[in-house]
């Protein structure tokens, strides 16, 4: 591994984690909901895309659209059926989303039969094949595509939140739910929209990263905890913080992978985000860019 490859892999993973974590942070910042099934959305979309492509039924773009629409539908159903009725009880919401995440994981396990490693057949993706040469290192061109796509998605999201009417309503609800209600904003609809948006963002992240990495059913918890660590690092509810946190975590993972000796590096780099969660929770629960909560 060279410096160039660390930069490229780190940046690519950072972009993907940024998209994933922005969804999580959005839901918490706007609705106060901690959605423990965020990782499950990720793996569900990844598996849906896998199944459609491995069975070679539809082309890749259509598989993406089907996956995203299913995840959006799941987001809507989650909000209406599960979260809205128990909204006042924070712990109940956590238990219910935890159970949903379990449901999704077990459903995938039932369908798959055991716990396989799903290796992707790269040739079926019509995007960038082959490798390009950056400063002397061979990098899969797919990583560049991932970065460009993630940047496009995030900038669309930021423009949407800043400029559109719904974006203004989202910002209003995140500041004060009751005042937003008084202003005539349908808070339930906005919360449902935000949850769906976060599910779709998780789906995007899955679609982007799945083209370069294998996926296992019990990775759902790992991605949930990664997005939680990113969000805790950046500050719950702060979107720029999530992006910064994503890059910090992904670069630290790859730097650790590069610096530590061979038998230990996989393991150590794999527990960095957990250590980050615990350290951030102990020392600064509001994150780097978050507001200090006086409860």
């Amino acid at each position: 591994m060279s410096i160039i490859s660390i930069l490229v892999y780190g940046a690519a993973l950072g972009c993907v984690l940024a998209v994933l974590a922005v969804g999580f942070s959005l839901v918490y910042g706007v609705g106060g909901i901690i959605n423990l099934s965020h990782g499950a959305y990720y793996i569900l979309t990844a598996y849906i895309v896998f199944w459609f492509i491995n069975a070679n039924i539809v082309a890749y773009p259509i598989a993406i659209i089907i996956g995203l629409s299913l995840i959006a539908l799941l987001g809507i159903v989650t909000y209406l059926a599960l979260i809205k009725p128990i909204q006042h009880n924070e712990i109940g919401v956590m238990i219910v989303t935890f159970a949903l995440a379990f449901l999704i994981e077990q459903a995938i396990l039932v369908y798959e039969g055991s716990k396989p490693e799903e290796i992707k057949d790269i040739s079926l993706i019509p995007f960038a094949k082959g490798q390009i040469n950056i400063f002397g290192t061979q990098i899969d061109a797919q990583y560049i595509v991932i970065m460009i796509a993630a940047v496009i998605i995030l900038s669309c999201l930021i423009l949407f939140i800043k400029k559109s009417r719904i974006g203004k309503a989202i910002r209003a609800v995140s500041q004060d739910k009751d005042a937003a209600k008084l202003m005539g904003i349908n808070v339930n609809l906005i919360l449902m929209f935000v949850l769906t948006l976060s599910a779709v963002l998780a789906g995007f992240a899955a679609i982007l990263y799945v083209s370069v990495s294998p996926i296992y059913p019990n990775y759902g918890w790992e991605y949930l905890l990664i997005s939680m660590s990113v969000v805790l690092l950046g500050g719950l509810g702060s979107l720029p913080g999530s992006v910064i946190g994503a890059f910090i975590i992904s670069f630290s993972r790859f730097i650790c992978f590069y610096l530590v000796d061979i038998p230990y590096n996989v393991a150590y780099s794999g527990i960095i985000y957990l250590a980050v969660i615990i350290i951030m929770l102990i020392f600064r629960p509001c994150g780097i860019l978050g507001k200090k909560e006086r409860t």
Partner: protein, 387 residues
């Protein structure tokens, strides 16, 4: 008249003592005969335990619990087949585990999504002591619990300043950290690697049937002792303090109770019993793997307690039996009635089913399934008795 004055003085003295010792129950009509029967040990702690026990047994809830306990003891012994012993032993382990989660999360309000950490750590510690240090299994179980307490403190001290969602996330992260650490091959010298500890010797000199019966009786006794202790804690002043911490922490703090100390105590007690459950689980299975730290094992007490009735300790035991026996029945039915090529697919169907049940129960009921069921059966019983 002199006697009456002495009683009044006794009450004033014990009022002062109450503020210092959380385990006391207010002394009222303190009879000398009771103290003679129960001995000096119970006199200061639970002065009228005997009459309390009698009235509890006569009440409906106590009767149901004793009936269930009786059935649980008898069914495997009568049916005398190995499978039932396996199922009931593990169900008893889960009963202790779920009750410990309930004590922490339902009664004290510190919802932890990573209880598998205590469960697994208790199992690993007990295995290490039995296999590598050659202890007898009985002190190893207690040591498993005690080291569970140690780790409970390690988790509790940072968690003290965390409120609801942060605490749950932190405990989830801790249990997954344990999973990662214990499956790392590279740290094998410290953490036993991805195969865990195997071939832990436990009653090797008996035949399989005798070993299972011994384990069954052992687990039964330990379960009764543990759940009785937890129920006593629940009904005592300590339990009231825990419930106060759950309901309104600031009011409890304002009442002069050191909330920090009692939160630590709740973590310690809960981790102790979870560690004991983990030790028995390990001894039954004979090995312990890093899988025990996975979120599946953190999910089990949540669903058991939610189904059985959150914040009632006996509800946790009900839920544990209900869930685990149903789990085994479904798995058995699947393997009996499905052709073999579908069996692998449906082996996880039970957990899927229970995830759905958990969703439905949390969404629609407040107090779990067992409370309304007990209330309805109590009404039925009264109707049958002609009230």
């Amino acid at each position: 008249m002199v006697e009456k004055d002495q009683n009044v003085n006794e009450e004033l003295v014990t009022e002062k003592v109450l503020t210092r010792r959380p385990f006391s129950i207010p002394l009222k009509n303190y009879s000398k005969k009771t103290s003679k029967r129960l001995g000096i040990f119970f006199k200061h702690k639970i002065p009228y335990a005997e009459s309390e026990l009698k009235s509890w047994v006569r009440s409906f809830r106590g009767g149901i619990i004793l009936l269930c306990l009786f059935l649980v003891t008898l069914i495997p012994l009568l049916l005398n087949s190995i499978v039932y012993f396996h199922v009931f032993i593990i169900a008893m382990v889960y009963a202790i585990y779920a009750a410990s989660w309930d004590l922490l999360s339902g009664v004290t309000g510190q919802v932890s999504f990573g209880h598998a950490a205590f469960f697994g750590l208790g199992g690993y510690m007990c295995a290490a002591f039995v296999k590598f240090l050659g202890f007898h299994w009985f002190p190893s179980i207690i040591i498993g619990g005690a080291l569970g307490v140690l780790f409970g403190l390690i988790i509790a001290i940072p968690s003290l300043r965390l409120k609801g969602p942060y605490l749950a996330l932190g405990s989830l992260a801790f249990s997954l950290l344990m999973w990662r650490l214990f499956s790392m091959e590279s740290l094998r010298f410290l953490f036993f690697g991805s195969e865990g500890i195997r071939n832990v010797a436990f009653l090797q000199s008996l035949t399989l049937r005798e070993k299972l019966i011994t384990e069954f009786i052992l687990a039964l006794i330990i379960m009764i002792v543990c759940i009785t202790i937890m129920l006593v804690v629940y009904n005592s002043k300590l339990g009231t303090i825990f419930k106060g911490i759950r309901d309104d922490e600031y009011a409890t703090e304002a009442a002069g109770i050191n909330v920090t100390r009692y939160k630590l105590l709740a973590f310690c007690i809960s981790a102790f019993f979870a560690g004991i459950a983990g030790s028995i689980y390990m001894l039954h299975r004979g090995n312990v793997k890093p899988d025990i730290f996975m979120s599946l094992y953190s999910f089990y007490p949540i669903i058991m307690v939610v189904v059985g009735g959150i914040s009632t300790i006996s509800g946790a035991a009900f839920g544990a039996y209900f869930f685990y026996v149903l789990n085994e029945i479904i798995t058995q039915l699947c393997s009996d009635f499905l052709p073999s090529n579908l069996q692998l697919i449906f082996s996880n169907i039970a957990t899927l089913f229970f995830a759905i049940i958990l969703l439905v129960v949390v969404r629609f009921t407040e107090r779990g399934l067992m409370e309304p069921a007990i209330k309805r059966s109590k009404d039925l019983w009264d109707l049958l008795r002609g009230k």
